[in-house]
Symmetry: D2
């Protein structure tokens, strides 16, 4: 970490800062140029909050050199992490995994039918919301525990492992039999929840927050890994920008960037990224082309009657066509690599 | 709500949509122009998720006409809500309330001294973090329950009511004696927590999320009011933009806009809005000039040794000077109104 | 267009608004609900500035229903526009066009060598900056007219048509022999320049502004088409967001969205979108997968010694490999469509 | 400037970089830590484009230490610049200057009446658009040269100096008698125009671009000063964010931040910052409280019939009331400082 001091900084405050840093086990190397004095900080600077130093009266700016994350950092763990969801079902390591299912679980009939259909199309994990984070308190909030029961029922029938969203650490007992727990964008920095998920032995699907930086997403994954759980899959699902035509803006660069910074698998949610079903297919293809390890796609058997944003879903038939193209593209990309 | 259909929409899908809307108690009035057919939706459209309709195949766009919030809407409750924090201490209704204290509670000595000092300067509520949301799992996470104990100790000595942040509904029992509970920016859409806070009878300080719209902030307040708790104070604390010189961008327009849209009081946190202590004074003055009902300001007795972002704090002496100017400006603004 | 009035609007102001709209040839149909009066505006509302109406005292909100652009609107011109750059070289209509070359033209040797190399790899148009928009007045501003001379030299040798950026309408005479004129992101709303380019008969490469919406980009194209020039190619080059790891955020959804809204071809600039050369290949692949009509890629024969941001360039060798994969992917995507 | 190298960087590429830097007169001091090698660059790094270095294969990150602007930098010119617009009319140096007038010049009667009214209220500079940058080619584009003639007429009658916007360097001859030339937000990085304005001896009102950083705004001012013209006034006019309730988000912190970084005066345009006339008064007060040297406010004699966004204007009467309060607040703030 490098600390740039103001030209006319108070020496006593500087001493006090150096002392405080030393107490944290960090060595400080000052160097003085024509305009600025710069402090080089050597040691484990991940314990230091940049904003703390930044806000000091004598400090003009602070620049991190080392990433503040360790366990999730590819520099320390060069090999790809492959997360096993259930026997034989994996995310990461070069294969394309499709997760599909309705936005919300609505009925046994609905979830079982959709699960069956997406399985036939090649999806290996089933998604479905039981607890739904909704902006309005008056909107449908999901079937909750009953929703989880129906998901387990669909798993029983299809054999597909399930992933579903948790909204509060208190709900954890209900997730005992769930195969993979999703942390939604709005909970990406619910640190108490992340700590609790670090203490269990279950795969976590961690979605990027609406305006989270790459570093913040990785720090949230670091919370989980710091607790001992390293079965984490990251999910790019669009960020908030000034453009309002689409619900969010899919940050396609997140895929290669995250895969460079971390060894964790990265998947994409094209359905939430745009909120427009016509865009799901082109963005799915783009994501796979950019190197995504998988996709999580909303599929609904009757979009018009969906209770929640199922309307942004594809029909099972449209998903089937898309899945075919995606697997062929995976083949194409693999063959390209093999030829190199 | 107005739904704009695509030029070549499928009639059967349209029927299906109308049927679904009717089932929700909403009447649909179509009108056909040269280019588009437009549906006017009459009824309680607050139950409808715009993104649902938006994502339908036959729909080109959806425009809300009515706000989706009711209880917090000034249209239905024209008079200002005044929130009483403790006997004689109020926020809203035309007076300027100063909330002050350190970022984190560190020791009995620290919190009691700061509380005493800010009280002398005119603050009527004391702040201090016991549970700290930190981006890094390796950073100091607050004294937690011990922190709350120390805050109560400081209240005993100074008589100042306290406001402190909750991070998880599970922590509620520890907040029994706390006067006002803060919901941080990262938890603004932690809907399970909001529901729990709607069920208690305690003032809530609800901070705007890092990239929350006015409507989303108001919907989160609606969650709390829908549960029966109407003692809510909103807090503008800066939003995330592309500008990185300041930690966040204080949205000064949020003050007059929110006060138009809702009857709830609106305060400002200039410390977190910028992350630079030199900007706290000018932004505090600006906020009061723009009509804020109060300010929440970080004050620390020894900024250099603060454990967390106390460094963005003012010293008690700087706060004292600022408070004087703020109260004088309040007087000035009141006298202007009286003369009109 | 729909105008939502405030509940307590002044009737005289309303009359005055209706009169003003009628004078513009627009009919006004009011309809009154429980909470709001809504005006339906029928006629050519593209002449009306939404912000004008929005700002009126009696108005709560305004919603456009019809797009404000006509000539570029796919609704009125369903067929794809194909822009011919030089004999046999086209952009649009289902083929993948590669534009490649250095950031800045530096010397005859450099531009001719790069042009030759990218031609061998399959690029059909050569790019190179003669006039360089630089944030700093102290940075290299391009070889200017000499740069254009060198580009024409390279064209002579290779036969590749050239595209290069104009920065001011005054420079137009220097562009007489240039095949395609580029309007940079910072000039997307230089309306005087757009008008001048509307009056000439040369293909225009119009880059999206750093924070331009789709609609604003299309309105800028409309400026050119309104002048009579319909040879326009749109270019997505990344938008400014809060994420700073990459220079900009490539908005991959812009490709399918723009191709739905307009009949004009859409290409992507992956080099400027991220500012990191390692991301050029994955984002190029993603863009083609999402349906881009072409790519404009920086290629440099000696990245380390480049005078301007050539450093974000690929080497000719890396470009050659990438181009191979891109053309194969194009084949793959075509074969998929053929099978449907 | 500090350059952080990738852990496994190629030594030959490093040598090549060092050589290139040396050739630009910059000394390079490497220092090697456990994880990274860091290069300290000493010399005039303002000539170096960060993105160039950033994009190199061997580079992980680049951090600027010194600001890239010199002439506008307060570090080199500690005293406030005061810009004289006409005899006795100044901006900067501790006084509050009000600039007022209609969005567009429409007729002699209109501009003269408004000018007379705002003069009576205490405005000392008159504004009015002759050339109007409009998103749509079909919207009213201003009276152009005739507009300037009318402004000069109004100056003749009232004695108020005038400021009006230029849209292209070609228009300069028409601005010969104009007192102050405005560069609009969309032209903030029209570098050819900036260069031309650097060569004349007239005050320039430089508006911040829609998504320009503080540094970019200052670099654009640097372009003008580098040409020899140091009579520049900066204007904060709102930035583009995800919030759409207001047209832009007024960045109130820009005032104290810019006044710290530069010696140039800073004014605020509250009319364009929000696009809602009801917000002009509170944001004007806030801006003055935050330290603005002046305000530029739209005032119109008949808002309902305005041809362009005059509707966001105040009436002369509302402006008169606001001006009174603003001058009283200026008095109040001055007296506060005097007492310190």
């Amino acid at each position: 970490m490098i600390v740039i001091l103001k030209p006319d900084h108070n020496e006593k405050q500087l001493e006090s800062l150096v002392e405080w840093l030393n107490a944290k086990g960090i060595e400080v190397y000052p160097s003085t140029g024509t305009m600025h004095t710069v402090l080089g900080l050597i040691g484990d600077t991940s314990v230091i909050d940049v904003s703390l130093i930044m806000a000091l009266d004598i400090v003009e700016d602070v620049k991190r050199i080392q990433e503040p994350y360790k366990n999730v950092n590819r520099k320390f763990h060069p090999l790809d992490t492959v997360v096993e969801i259930s026997e034989g079902v994996k995310i990461g390591g070069g294969n394309l995994t499709l997760i599909a299912g309705p936005c919300s679980v609505e009925s046994e009939e609905q979830i079982c039918e959709v699960a069956q259909r997406v399985k036939e199309s090649g999806a290996t994990i089933m998604r479905g919301g039981a607890f739904k984070p909704r902006t309005s308190p008056y909107a449908f909030q999901g079937l909750r525990d009953e929703g989880i029961r129906l998901l387990l029922k669909a798993r029983e029938i299809t054999g597909l492992p399930i992933v579903t969203e948790i909204m509060d650490a208190d709900q954890l007992p209900l997730f005992d039999e769930v195969d993979m727990i999703q942390v939604g964008a709005r909970n990406m920095q619910n640190f108490e929840l992340l700590k609790r998920l670090g203490a269990i032995d279950k795969p976590i699907l961690l979605k990027r927050g609406l305006c989270a930086t790459y570093e913040e997403l990785l720090m949230s994954a670091e919370y989980i890994m710091a607790g001992g759980n390293n079965r984490i899959v990251l999910c790019e699902r669009g960020i908030r920008t000034y453009e309002t035509y689409t619900r969010n803006t899919l940050d396609i660069a997140a895929i290669p960037v995250l895969k460079t910074l971390t060894h964790l698998p990265v998947i994409v949610d094209p359905s939430h990224a745009t909120g427009r079903s016509a865009l799901v297919a082109p963005l799915s293809l783009a994501s796979v082309a950019a190197g995504a390890d998988g996709l999580i796609i909303e599929v609904h058997n009757d979009p018009t009657h969906a209770l929640c944003d199922g309307a942004q879903s594809l029909t099972p038939q449209a998903f089937d066509e898309l899945a075919k193209t995606l697997f062929e593209m995976e083949q194409f990309l693999h063959s390209r690599k093999a030829n190199k």
